[in-house]
């Protein structure tokens, strides 16, 4: 078989499971809609019509960017078998700290944004590092440690905001001081030509692209990435071949946390320019779903993030059509569950195929290799 054909086949096998999962999710949600007395056709066409308007598409991308960053943070852990469930706390704490730091300094634009990003990454890394060190030195499972650190992060964030970072005015919304304009990330509206009023394609999209590329390079093209994947595939084999397992745990958590620190920045640097009491929550957990759906692959996760972003932004129209918007939650859940099943089914089919091919190969070769008497 030619090399090109092989690659096409691989891509085909790779795309089949998510496509099947998507169709399955559509089927299940159609049934649910039908049972609840709503028309699946009207529902999906309304979502499609609203979802493909330019403004909604921009919202989709804006929603996808933090989801993607969160998914990459989770995927770094997954790649070596670590479950960083604490992205939620890491990004929230990083957002409070970097908003306060960004508002406290005055720097030229070329330095201000990188400074805020750096503070956010260091905070996220430090917070995730706690779980890494606990696991490496005391054997505390990272799921337990990170989930507890989430709660602590909420408390610390609220305490810092209320007692040290608060910008007091007569509003009921507690917030940090406004970051000076030099620390704002400009929108990418100019790239689109004309946009609907009020629409704002957030500039941190560029940051997400950079993170995606770096993620690929680091994990698949460096020594560290090789150790990471080797440890994830078989920790004992990796250790036997000279990988420092404890060091890898700490380094991986630090890296995962550093990326997690970025999750809150698209909205903060592109829109609010401060940390407010109603800062978006739940992105850390949503990132786990996106990483699972995208198979921890930089491109796969981008597609998954856009899909989830599209589903949530286009679902908003459903309230106006008197269709319960929760149907989208059902769809997301079914997609996730069925994609896991579909990947496993495909893996088994492929494994069976490989076994058969190998057997056929041996049968052809056997007579040509005479066994010495």
């Amino acid at each position: 078989m030619s090399g090109g054909g092989k690659i096409l086949r691989r891509i085909g096998w790779g795309l089949l499971p998510p496509a099947a999962a998507l169709l399955f999710a559509l089927a299940i949600s159609s049934i649910v809609l039908q049972l609840s007395g709503n028309s699946p056709w009207t529902t999906f066409s309304a979502m499609w019509e609203y979802g493909t308007r330019e403004r909604t598409l921009i919202t989709t991308v804006n929603l996808a960017v933090p989801l993607y960053l969160s998914a990459v943070a989770v995927a770094i852990g997954f790649k070596m078998g670590l479950f960083n469930i604490g992205v939620e706390g890491q990004y929230r704490l990083a957002a409070v700290m970097s908003a306060a730091a960004g508002a406290a300094v005055s720097l030229p634009p070329v330095l201000h944004v990188p400074f805020i990003i750096l503070v956010a990454m260091v905070t996220g890394a430090a917070w995730a590092g706690v779980a890494g060190v606990l696991k490496a030195t005391r054997g505390v499972h990272e799921v337990i440690a990170t989930i507890m650190l989430n709660t602590i992060a909420t408390g610390i964030g609220a305490y810092l905001l209320a007692n040290y970072f608060q910008d007091r005015d007569n509003s009921l919304n507690t917030k940090t001081k406004l970051i000076p304009t030099s620390g704002w990330v400009p929108s990418l509206n100019r790239l689109l030509g004309s946009v609907p009023t009020g629409a704002n394609l957030q500039g941190f999209l560029v940051g997400a692209l950079v993170v995606g590329i770096l993620f690929y390079v680091v994990v698949w093209r460096t020594r560290f990435g090789f150790d990471l994947r080797a440890t994830g595939l078989n920790p004992f084999a990796a250790q036997a071949s000279g990988v420092n397992a404890k060091g890898m745990i700490v380094r991986t958590m630090l890296l995962s946390g550093a990326i997690a620190g970025l999750v809150g920045l698209p909205e903060m640097l592109g829109f609010f320019h401060r940390y407010t009491l109603d800062f978006t929550t739940g992105l850390g957990f949503a990132g786990i779903a996106v990483a699972l759906l995208g198979r921890n692959h930089p491109v796969g996760m981008a597609v998954a993030a856009l899909l989830f972003g599209f589903l949530s932004s286009s679902a908003q129209i459903l309230d106006l059509k008197d269709v319960p918007k929760e149907i989208v939650g059902i769809m997301q859940g079914v997609i996730l569950l069925s994609v896991v099943v579909a990947y496993e089914v495909v893996r088994r089919i492929r494994a069976a195929g490989e076994v058969r091919a190998a057997a056929e190969h041996d049968r052809v070769r056997e007579p040509a290799a005479p066994v010495p008497a």
Binding site: A27, S30, S45, D278
Partner: protein, 353 residues
Amino acid sequence: MRHHRWTRVLALLLPLALFAAACGSDSSSVSSDTTTGGTSKDLKVGIVYDLGGRGDQSFNDAAAAGLDKAVKEFGLSKPKELEPNQGGENRAQLLRLLAEDNTNLVVAVGFLFADSVKATAPEFTDSTFAIVDETVDAPNVASLKFAEEQGSYLVGAAAALTSKTGKLGFIGGVETPLIKKFEAGFVAGAKKVNPNATVDVKYISQPPDFSGFNDPAKGKEIANGQYAGGADVIYAAAGGSGGGLFEAAKATSTAAAKHWAIGVDSDQYNLVDASLKPFILTSMLKKVDVAVYQTVKAMVEGETVGGKETIFDLKSDGVGYSTSGDNIAPDVVTQIETLKKQIIDGSIKVPTA
């Protein structure tokens, strides 16, 4: 082996067939939804609740009650009622949806909508927006604010006058400046009638975790602790979590020591289960229903409501306390009424923080 493999392929194709079937069976009802848009010329009202939505028995329900009353009285078409995602990132998108749908009056329930209203209102000058609990300075935004501290002052006095131990409890849902206003008023009212009274203050959650407004189990746990610590009257400003306080009051009350609970926002005596009614001393009324109703009414009558800030306080009967069930002693009511007059005439200034 071969047979096995085909079942698997079939399993992958099945969804496609199911989906096609579900879509196909339904093509007849496509046109059923085209009547929205309305032929009636009446006022088109839309509302976006805060987290918890209609059915929280407290804050959002008060807004819903005002809306329902207005819809019935003025014969308006069914309003669109929306609620943000748990993460709250789509508040502005929901306001915009309603405005794009040519809604004349868009009501945003809760101060968390302030930034979203500020961003959206200038784009839709043909629509009027109303925001509860916050001021947004724009010509087409009506700001509906409440003097929660005044109502809380009165129930604080009622609590201290009713308490036998001189120990009171306050349970806040989420530690935000808004709930701090309830706390400040409650403590000041209690100290006014009994300078030796102590108030055990606890909050359920810290922002941005807003679960404290909808966590009856934690509300109950905290209330149990406060009752065990000697408090015999507890005030919860915690939305749906208040239900846990009522349960705790009932569970820990004995013949010798009665434990009281004070409700918030709506007259909760009328909303809770009959078995809990004997334990609800009073409720601090924050009449979001009146505010919403009056705003719709003004719009129906052709008045301009945008660009105005309305304060709902004791004077305008926008906040108050309830006496449903007559659990509150008559002599206590007499004393509270005196305090109420003093607040209205300005001789008592109630702190807000």
